[in-house]
Amino acid sequence: MNFSRIARITAIGAVAALAVTGCAANEAAPEASTAPEGATLSGTLVGGGASSQEVAVAAWTKDFQTANPDVTVDYDPAGSGTGRESFAAGAFAFAGSDRAFKTSELSEMSFETCAADAGIVEIPAYISPIAIIFNLDGVDSLNLDAATVAAIFMGDITKWNDPKIAAMNAGVELPDLAINTVHRSDKSGTTGNFTDYLSATAGDVWTHGSVEEWPIAAGESAQGTSGVVQAVEGGTGTIGYADASRAGDLGTVSIKVGEDFVAYSPEAAAAIVDASPLEDGRGEGDLAVKLDRTSAEAGVYPIVLVSYLIACETYADAAQAELVKGFFTTAISAAGQDAAAAAAGSAPISDTIRTKAQAAIDLISTK
């Protein structure tokens, strides 16, 4: 009896000791890798911001860290608002944001990471088309113009076989079905850019302006891009808006630009950024694009989300300046943009933007 009790206690003790050794920190040193030629960068680069760029930043990080094995890049997808604030407060060396800083913010905020009186560099590094997706049996594509889309999402047009829709889609069999709109329940840059498009092109129909949180209570709400896509897929006669990379094989809308109906495509999405002017009143490195959603140029798709990478023009720390320059150069390079397109479904930036962005990146220096 005594022996079996001692044996039991010993067994428990042995198991506990084995379990605790499993918690020991991994002390094995990482394998020394042979650095490729020309790589002199090392250190840690900490940034954060837009969750829309998360997958693209991961692709750029992978490329950058492969070329510079001693570098670690950390990106915290805490949201554009948090990214901008933390960048200004000095917690991040660079930020990702679905909108550029407003000029009022630039004059009011002080940027702790940057050297005093320095400007900031903002480059449009991530372009993502927003597709209007719908689920109708037997219909793969619909032609709609901005006023009709606005009326649908306002709740003014309630049936699929409404004459306004039929007028633009001759030959398409539209059922007598109620339209169910699906929108994002969370605050989102996708909503912001979609409503920006509606208020710019159909401001008399869409009266809620450009907002990041859907302003109307009516209609289905879903969480995140995947939620919207699932809601549209699972419903009947549903229509919603989501990042084009996740549209799958749902029907999509070709939007009227000028006289043609343009379907979304990476080239068309990049074309609208080319066709839009830069905002004035900003520094040399600040390439905030004033998207011209009403542009009538051929082959542009105006419903896009443009996400920026933001950095200082002058860093107090020389090493940080080099790291940021290297990372941004990887991001806008053709290889980087293609990697992001493959991973995240974004539209690669055009060469025009690349040249301008590279000029802005070259301004990054240390004091």
Partner: protein, 318 residues
Amino acid sequence: MTTTVSAPASAPAKVAQRPGDRWFSGSALFAGSMILVTLAAVAVFLFVQSIPGITATGEEASILKDGDFWDYVAPLAFGTVWAAALALVMAVPLSIAVALFISHYAPRKLSQSLGYVVDLLAAVPSVVFGLWGIGVLAPAVQPAYSWLVDNAGWFPLFAGPASGTGRTIFTAAVVLAVMVLPIMTAICREIFLQTPSLHEEAALALGATRWEMIRMAVLPFARGGIVSAAMLGLGRALGETMAVAMVLSASGGINFRLFTAENPNTIPANIAQTFPEAYGLNVNVLIATGLILFIVTFLVNAIARVIVNRRKDFSGAN
């Protein structure tokens, strides 16, 4: 004959305590006090972190928009209680029925395997229930919702417009009911099996049918246990996060319509959806909504306990 009245006994001699007694009572005391300490720690955390949120205004905490904290939390609290109440209305009778079937009606083999299957249902993660809800249940019930709205739309609960995807508060309540069913059934089953067999046999001997025996001997005995089971189920239904977050289309305020797409959100689902992108005072506001949920659960449990204790003297257990 005088009866001898013995002098009041002196305090009974202290029972010899072995080390095992001391260890066991000590660890039981420790475990009990740890529960209280944990609960107190959670409550203190909630209180301390919520105070800045409760007093915040719309400018300080962007999540509040134009109103104050109470405007923000009122529809959420309503949605939580409404969804949980609907779920319990569906689940409690069903779980009592299943438990009665397992304990009193089914042949032994069937009851064992049925009990096993019900316990398995408790092991399914809530995310899987959420996926099942949006993938299978919502599309399947959507035609029923449309039909009810078209034909019985005069009834306030069934007012339209019907949701096109079926992701309504009623669907969320059905998913919640499926999730709380196994817990309640397991507890009720154990309680029903504990009924003193003498009571049951006495009822049968008096000529009662099986249902009358259950009504006379089993259910009164089990009343306290059924309420405990329902409270456990209610706690789970009130706190369920992922399943509701995935299934519910939450864009509305306080309303009683079951089949529309404008439903009030629930507090845990709202926290799960909003917390990732929240910063600053918004986090405090969200924690404050958690505190409200804590208080609501506490109140409902207290009310249930009071109801049970008032009838304690009449229950079959005494």
